[in-house]
Subunit: 189 residues, 2 copies
């Protein structure tokens, strides 16, 4: 999607060959008008999938999930990390290893919010190893719901996420795929 690629080229900061900072518009400071337009593009792509729910994981997936859900007219559910006092028991849970944070997080969704009849669109800001998406798929599987698609803002095409998802037959759409961050250059696929 040209709009997103242009923004990444204009403002993205290559930290190293694995990381590009886009937190000035995507996942710390948020350009909500841009996110709304990204959401419309995801809606156009997945509009025939009869999506009933959008699933993401806190915190950085929430903004795009919300602004995508406005187009679909369906609820967002975000998986929570850790356990909180107001949400005991009755949860689907899974683990997710984040290379960015170098830690394993426990994620969970209340069983009331994922049902067997749900057709779920998973949304996230980044796809890299695919660990986050596969952990969310695990929650969907536990619910007996259907993973109808995965919509991503920025995919690190040089990592294994796409291969792992496609091997499972998952319908994946990334708005921008970065082929390489070597030599401080952002190269799209």
């Amino acid at each position: 999607m040209k709009l997103l690629k242009d923004r990444i080229l204009k403002e993205g900061i290559v930290v190293d060959q694995d990381i590009v900072r886009v937190d000035m518009f995507l996942n710390h400071q948020l350009d909500v008008d841009l996110l709304y337009q990204l959401g419309r593009e995801l809606f156009d792509y997945f509009s025939k999938e009869k999506i009933t729910k959008i699933l993401t994981v806190e915190a950085s997936g929430i903004p795009l999930a919300c602004l995508t859900a406005l187009h679909f007219g369906v609820p967002v559910v975000y998986a929570k990390k850790g356990r909180v006092r107001t949400q005991e028991g009755n949860t689907f849970s899974s683990e997710i290893f984040s290379y960015t944070r170098n830690e394993t997080a426990f994620i969970s969704v209340h069983q009331e919010y994922l049902k067997p009849q749900d057709r779920v669109l998973v949304i996230d800001d980044f796809l890299a190893s695919g660990n986050a998406v596969l952990s969310l798929k695990n929650l969907i599987d536990q619910a007996g719901a259907e993973l109808a698609g995965v919509g991503i803002a920025i995919e690190k095409g040089f990592q294994e996420g796409r291969g792992r998802l496609k091997a499972l037959g998952i319908n994946l759409y990334s708005l921008a795929i970065i082929a390489s961050l070597e030599d401080d250059q952002i190269i799209f696929a």
Copy 2:
């Protein structure tokens, strides 16, 4: 705001005299159309405040912040909890004690995203002790920016948040104020 109060009465679950679960529409599963309407109400109230930025803290403040920001046409910044590898140094930081989680969290905002010229609207899903808002105010103060207002979905009117904020002269607007949760009854102020 009648729309929100009606929804709380219809779906909210009183857990004990301090906690009402509204995570079926506000902070786990998200009714984004409702949040968009809450955001418009907050826009109507604060529209003359020349807001340049909306500030919240991850994760549960993000949805309402995003859907309010659409009306204002300004960016959202969300304070992050903990430290991550892609966000080293150059941050304003503060601490926040959460009674819900019974833990102290370290929160931070990159210095690039709060500037002295900013007029900041703080948005959160709940106001209880006021600790979260005061911790965000601390970040705003560090930046030399102006706290122009605080917009809250649900205020626990039986806690000290309002008193602490009003004592500082803060312009506070809560869309629903719960006076009591005793005897499993939700009573609004």
